[in-house]
Each structure stands twice: as structure tokens, then as C-alpha cells.
Symmetry: C2
Subunit: 347 residues, 2 copies
């Protein structure tokens, strides 16, 4: 009854979402602070007006404001360089379906976002995981030619490592690859650089962003991708007609309009991130320099699975992540200072 | 760069969504009344609480309440018979990706919802349109064996005709078909019967529903499908992890909880529908008996495209729909009595 590819595959399992309150949740890279009050106000207004009507199919209000904001990094951007989606996962799905057919190859680094493999499997494509170098750079192996290679994803900053491939290196990868390159900047707002300018220089570079992390809107499901207009036009054929709802469009527009909130929130996260990295190093963990809102900690002398379980028993959720061929680690989301202090005290 | 299937296909074009106000919008089968006040209240509450956190990945609050409501038609239903989605289009996409691979065949009636063909094309599958009989019934041709036939969609009530295949006939089709049958009940709440009971009797019957029409929530994007749990389990592998947002889950739960509102709204729509049908027949149109919230009108002696244009010039949007091999028609959504009176006066 089912496609063979679906029947055989294992479902993607996102991080635990405990429903009980009174937990400290540092396992799925959510922002610990509530979103801008202007977002909440925009939702309350939109709730009262016209939900019986279909939303704007292309979320134009958001695209217009986003184009203004993003023009700092990509001067030629206009709204038709932007496609909006139901979270950036929706865009990763649309990109996979646009470029990758059954039996084709989808490349991504390892260790990285586990969903890339799932997207390849759903499509009946060949997952092609290429290991990072030991210093978390992506060598020329990542750009190597391969039969039926149709698309490459790179999370940048990467999860779980929090590391960043510099834009210049990414541009070289894009030039060397025989297929389009998606730079998944879900955590891009927490880094000091990004790859938006590459989109202007190369029609085969596509950048995805989400409002889940840096705008504290994981519950809203809103993301977007930036690509040259002739690419957006093809991607738009694959999206559901009304993939963004009226409330999320209003909320996302208010969110990206409040750059002061973004700046202040980012400053708090970056400061706490520095404290967390230093404290974990002080406890003997090897901690990579993070450019995201989480910190990756390994320690060959500790039983990290046990540490994860012990913390969970105390109501503190972090993410324990084993990857084949790599040291296991715990990924700790940057919470509030109080949350991080509580977590550190238990460790 | 793109998959051949995507590059070649024409994008699905939904009905016009004029942004100017002061129009009478009878072209995309939206409910003319605002949703239940309890829905608006639920959204306003949810907006203030925890949008920085991911939503419940399976929308359990909705599934629990929906299972209670739907048990009137399907006594054995429990929450694990339900999968929620970002509008029922999301579910139609998930169903296509679960059952239909490249080169497989996807069957649907003609004339019907144009999206079915688009979904086949995106998947690189063969669209297999089977004409309705002249009386809008689906004969045994629809169940005929065919190579690589993997899935069949039937909108019931159908658009644009508003006609209904009775559940007994649908059960026979499901038994005769070699593949799963999706009964798309987007307009099911406006009919007197539905096919939910068939899901209990046959694991290859899947019913989809949306809150866009009968709950007046097109702007919210929330739909669901009902299938046996072992089917839901496979479908869940294909959906995006967090395909429904926290606001729409709260709103949809409040909506399905307010069955008094649904009953009252339905009664108004059904009464206006009867008036509209009678009036259009009085003007010489052939009008099929509608079981939905729209009315399908044909008239070989009128230039219907011109009628559509003339109405549009006056700010009244109806849908002009030509289908190859069938008489062209106009589909008029059941609006408020005042909206329908204004439309009728112009015609």
C-alpha cells in the first residue's frame, strides 16, 4: 500500500517537548525569552479580522519588510527574492522536492541536522553524508563530483557543533559543487557573518532562515528562503498555495520590523553563551566556539548519557547526541542566566 | 538545475484573492461569517503564552476533542486515527508523497479540484483524470485496474458541481479499487451524509477534512485526516515535524469544541444555498443540487466568461470555470443573504 521508501524509513524524531511546566528546557534551541510585544499585539489584532478569508498566498507584507531589512547584506534584494514557508522545515522540504528526484543524491555534512537524511529518504533519494574535518571545516571532499548529485545542504552555523563555515569558504564550495547549495541559516542571527551576499553572486546558492530561534517564535512556524527570482519562481510551484496562515504572516511581519528587539535579545543570548562556554570548559569539557544559541560539549571521561538522564531527573532537559564515528556530546541551549546557573550547578 | 517534472509543470493557481476591501467575494468558497468568538478568544490567549516554544508536534488537544465529536459517525475513533495538517492541502500533499512515487499513477475525477493534478505532477507521477458520468456519479470506470495505480482522490461533495457520491457507492468504489481511496470532505459539513464510517470498515479509505470552510477559518490553515492507526503511523513519517503552529492548534481546538456554532452557521448557509439555487434556476441557469457551500450554474445561452467579468467590474467575484469536454460554468459561493441578493440583482 505504501511507497517502499516510506515503509522502510525511520521517522525523524525531534527533541523532547515535555508538556509539564516547571522544567528548564535547554534541548531544542528555543529562545528563552518571549517574543517582541509587538508580535503579540499583531496576532491579537489579526485574530479579530477576517480569519474566514484565505491569507495572502505569498505573504507579501512580510516579504516587503524583510527585503528592506536584508538589503543590508544583499543590496539587490526585492520581495521576489523571498519565499515564505511554514517554518524553515517547510522550505527544506520544498527545496528537496524541487531539486531531488527518486534515486538522486542529496549531500549534507555529518554531524549535522538529522532532518536532511529524512528528507532524502522521504523523496526516495540517496542520502550522501560527508564528514566534517576534525576542526569542523568542510574540505574539498564536500564538493566532490558524484553521480546524480542534485542538492547540498549545509547548516551554518552548524548543529550540534555551533561552528561556522566562513562565507568565503562557502562561496568556494558553491563554485566547486555541481549542484545547488542550500545554506541553512536557522541560527544565522547569532553569528557575526552570513552567506546572504553569496545569493547575489551565484544563482545556485539559496539561504534559508527561520523566525523560530532568533525571533523567539518556534510556536509560530514561520521561515523563509532567499534565492534569485528565477529560482523562487520554480520553488513556488512546489509549495502549498496557502502555506502561511494569516496570523503567522501578521506576527512575522511585526517581528522582523522590530530590529531593536532582535538586537537586544541577541546581545543577551551572546553574553550568556560566553558564560556557558567558559563555565563548561572550567568543568573539563571540550567546548567548540559557538556561533549559535547553543553550546556543544564533549568529555571522553564522563558518561554523558548518564549526565543527560541525571539532569532530566532534576527537570533540566539538555540534548544528548551520539553520532556514528564522532565523540558523543551534550548540546545545551543558551537559556536565561538563571536557567544556565541551575544547569551548571547540577553538572 | 531543477527536476524535469517541476520545470515542465504549470503552477497551480488558486482563486483570486483581491486585497481591496468593499468587494463581495463569492469565488473561493470561504464562509461569509466570522468564526466562533471562542476561536478568537483562544488565539488571543495563546498569543500571550509561550510562542518561543515549539508547538505540540501532534496537536493532541485538537485530536482528543475531534475524536469525541467524530465518534458520532465513527464510534471506534481515538486520537491516533487522526493526523493534523497545515490546511487539508498539507494532508493531500502528505498522502500523495506517502503512496505515489515517480512514474506511478494518481487517479481523480474530472471536473474536480484542480490541485490533484498538480500534486501528481510535482511528484513526477501520472495524472489519471476519469470523467464523471453525466449525472455526476462515478461509474465503475473510476475503479478500473491500471498499471501502477497507487492512489485515488475523490472530493465529496465535489467542486465545482456541489454533488455528492453517496457513501454506499463510495464504499463500493473503495472495495473495487486496487489502491487507497482518499475521500476529500472539505465540504462535508454542508452535506447530510459523510464517509467517515467507511474508514472503520476499510483500511484503504482515508477521509480528509478542513476547518477552512464550515468553521470559517480559511485564514488559519488547519485540516486533518482520518484513517486507521497503522496508516496514520506511516503518514506521520512524511509530515513536517511541527506542521501545525501553536495558535492554529488552540484555535482549531476551540472551533471543533463549539458544535453549537457549527450547527447554527451551517443552518444559515444551507438556507441561503436553497434561495440561491432557486433564484439561479429562475434566471434560466441549469443548477445541480448542491451539498456544499457553493452553487454550480451553467447556461449554454449565456456568455459566462463575460458574466464573470461584468460581475467583477461591479466588485462581485464569482469563479468562472472552463473544463475540457464539459460545459463551462460559474461557481458561486454561498455568501450572506445580502451578498447573494446583490449578486443576483446584477445577474
Amino acid at each position: 500500500m505504501f511507497r517502499e521508501a516510506i515503509q522502510q524509513m525511520t521517522a525523524y524524531v525531534p527533541g523532547e517537548q515535555p508538556r509539564r511546566t516547571k522544567v528548564i528546557k535547554l534541548n531544542t534551541n528555543e529562545n528563552p525569552y518571549p517574543p517582541s510585544p509587538r508580535v503579540v499585539e499583531a496576532i491579537r489584532q489579526a485574530a479579530g479580522g477576517g480569519l474566514q478569508k484565505y491569507p495572502d498566498a505569498t505573504a507579501n507584507a512580510f516579504r516587503e519588510r524583510a527585503a528592506e531589512v536584508l538589503s543590508a547584506d544583499l543590496p539587490q534584494i526585492t520581495p521576489d527574492w523571498i519565499l515564505c514557508g511554514n517554518g524553515s522545515d517547510d522550505l527544506l522540504t520544498i527545496l528537496t522536492r524541487t531539486f531531488v528526484g527518486e534515486g538522486d543524491r542529496l549531500r549534507y555534512p555529518n554531524p549535522s541536522y538529522v532532518l536532511y537524511k529524512t528528507l532524502a529518504e522521504i523523496q526516495g533519494a540517496e542520502p550522501d553524508a560527508v564528514d566534517f574535518d576534525e576542526d569542523w571545516s568542510l574540505g574539498s571532499r564536500f564538493a566532490a563530483a558524484a553521480d546524480r548529485l542534485r542538492l547540498a545542504f549545509v547548516a551554518n552555523p552548524n548543529s550540534p557543533s555551533g561552528t561556522l563555515v566562513p562565507p568565503n569558504d562557502m562561496a568556494q564550495l558553491a563554485d566547486a559543487l555541481s549542484c545547488p547549495l542550500v545554506v541553512d541559516e536557522a541560527y544565522g542571527d547569532f553569528a557575526d557573518t552570513n552567506c546572504l551576499a553569496l545569493v547575489g553572486a551565484n544563482e545556485r546558492v539559496i539561504v534559508t532562515r527561520t523566525l523560530s530561534k532568533s525571533y523567539a517564535l518556534a510556536g509560530l512556524r514561520f521561515g523563509f528562503c532567499v534565492a534569485q527570482p528565477q529560482v523562487i519562481e520554480q520553488l513556488a510551484k512546489v509549495k502549498d498555495s496557502y502555506n502561511c496562515d494569516a496570523l503567522s504572516i501578521a506576527a512575522a511581519t511585526a517581528a522582523i520590523d522590530d530590529q531593536v528587539w532582535l538586537h537586544d535579545n541577541r546581545a543577551k543570548i551572546v553574553a550568556t553563551r560566553a558564560r556557558l562556554m567558559q563555565a563548561m570548559r572550567g568543568k573539563g569539557f571540550a567546548v567548540t566556539q559557538s556561533h549559535a544559541n547553543f553550546v556543544w560539549c564533549i568529555d571522553a571521561n564522563r558518561d554523558l548519557k548518564q549526565l543527560y538522564e541525571d539532569l532530566k531527573a532534576e527537570g533540566v532537559f539538555v540534548r544528548y547526541m551520539p553520532y556514528h564515528g564522532w565523540p558523543e556530546g551534550v548540546r545545551i541551549t543558551v537559556g536565561t542566566d538563571n536557567q544556565i546557573d541551575a544547569c551548571l550547578a547540577l553538572i
